[in-house]
Symmetry: C2
Subunit: 286 residues, 2 copies
């Protein structure tokens, strides 16, 4: 019987093992400076922070510790977004006693404090995270200010949930925090409904999530147009059931995204969150 923290570690590992996961590091693909083994080390490094969440520590403290541990490898940012989803979900699972629900997850999001926001900002100092320029009229400090934002967060009484609410329109990790982690739970349902080895299901659900919505990281780095193009391509592969019927086309799409350096990392984060929910609720088993 795995603990919530152990299920979160396993979710991180199963996510990166799924292949093909177009544009991302997976069991069959490395990127030039970011390799499979960096994700393995990131998952191990995140252990202590995830364990803190599992034992009821504040979300901010657990998240900052998880990110600091994750960053202790040479590949840079591997799982920042995934941890921003997993930490509150692990905390919710640890608080409950019968399965994990969207309401449980929302309750944890709502209960976050200014101290959680301050720790979240500090986490950006441990690793280089790609983030957009904030809008000129942003109501919360730029996350890239890190620990220096503490005084402003405190003066304005800004909680971590407030920070996420501000980011939600442009960031699908923040959006999960404001919508009961709906896509994470949807991913869990899809994982449970799919067939075959879990890593294969993870790859299948990755494509389905990419088809649903443009990837946040792709939109930030490469523009909304590219993100929409990638989602349209995923929809088309899904329509033709390429995973089952034309695996070569899917592999070609994966190779193309790697060569174009298009990296749908936020979609991978959602798969990791879905794997966690599904493991935690016992609807998938390794």
């Amino acid at each position: 019987m795995r603990t919530p923290a152990e299920n979160a570690r396993l979710a991180l590992l199963l996510e990166v093992a799924g292949t093909p996961k177009p544009g991302n590091v997976d069991r069959h693909r490395d990127l030039p400076e970011l390799r499979f083994e960096h994700f393995l080390a990131g998952a191990v490094g995140a252990s202590e922070g995830l364990a803190l969440a599992g034992s009821g520590s504040p979300v901010g403290v657990a998240f900052e510790r998880a990110v600091a541990g994750m960053a202790d490898q040479g590949g840079g940012n591997t799982q920042f977004g995934a941890l921003a989803l997993l930490v509150p979900l692990v905390r919710a699972a640890a608080d409950g006693d019968r399965g994990l629900s969207p309401a449980d997850a929302s309750r944890i999001a709502e209960s976050t404090t200014v101290a959680d926001a301050v720790a979240f900002y500090r986490a950006f100092e441990h690793v280089d995270v790609f983030v957009d320029e904030p809008p000129a009229d942003a109501s919360v400090p730029d996350v890239r200010r890190g620990a220096a934002a503490a005084a402003e967060l405190t003066a304005t009484g800004t909680t971590l949930k407030d920070v996420m609410a501000t980011g939600a329109p442009r960031d699908d990790v923040a959006r999960e925090w404001c919508r009961g982690f709906e896509r994470s739970f949807a991913a869990a349902d899809r994982l449970a409904g799919a067939d075959g080895p879990l890593a294969d299901r993870a790859a299948e659900v990755f494509i389905s999530l990419l088809a649903d919505r443009p990837d946040t990281l792709v939109a930030s780095r490469r523009g909304v147009g590219v993100a929409e193009e990638v989602s349209e391509r995923a929809r088309e592969l899904q329509r033709t059931d390429a995973l089952a019927e034309e695996p070569d086309r899917l592999e070609a799409f994966a190779d193309e995204l790697v060569s174009r350096r298009i990296n749908p990392g936020t979609t991978a984060d959602l798969v990791a969150a879905g794997l966690f929910v599904a493991l935690e609720n016992g609807v998938i088993e390794p």
Copy 2:
């Protein structure tokens, strides 16, 4: 800074990620009933037992807990042998303060008790481990007796080191316990001396260890002749530097062993132990 228990988890993950690792599950190969994801789940499941070793628990207790956790997945025995090496090594690393030496590891082996032996036998009840028929004149109980051997172990004052000493002539995991974990430390030196991503180094060192000595698991399951043939083939691939010069020949060898169901699992266990030593001593870094 990873703890010894975290380094052990990472060693288990890097070991299975190395490819090609002829005959074994690796980043590119599953076996029919034993998949990559079972090894990921096994590594996560072993966490608590490894953490016990890292906090000074007796080797037997930590090992039994690690095996019970490892077995909580559908693939069966994934890392029993690796844990039989890692648990004493983690315990030795946790006891020391400046690097891990063969003498540290031997000290832990020598200090094991009858209670450690009893726990070791109990571990065989958690998972189906392939073991040879013991010799007719064996001086210790058949490990397959599990917990039922406790009275005999106690009556004869048999420690876990005594059990390993009896197994050493035919079992290269037990042999490590009696020779200062010499091949584990040799593997660590080779990993440090190799180039490239850690998973690639793990694959390279796997071939070199296989070339050195016939694999115990292959010898047990398929006979000494087959084990010697496999080692001779590994020597020949090493002589021609196939990993660098003729990767296709190495891949063909890997495919051949999978199709012949020849599984050099003990050699993989030694690679995991070598990865741990190298991580712990800071001579490799992910």
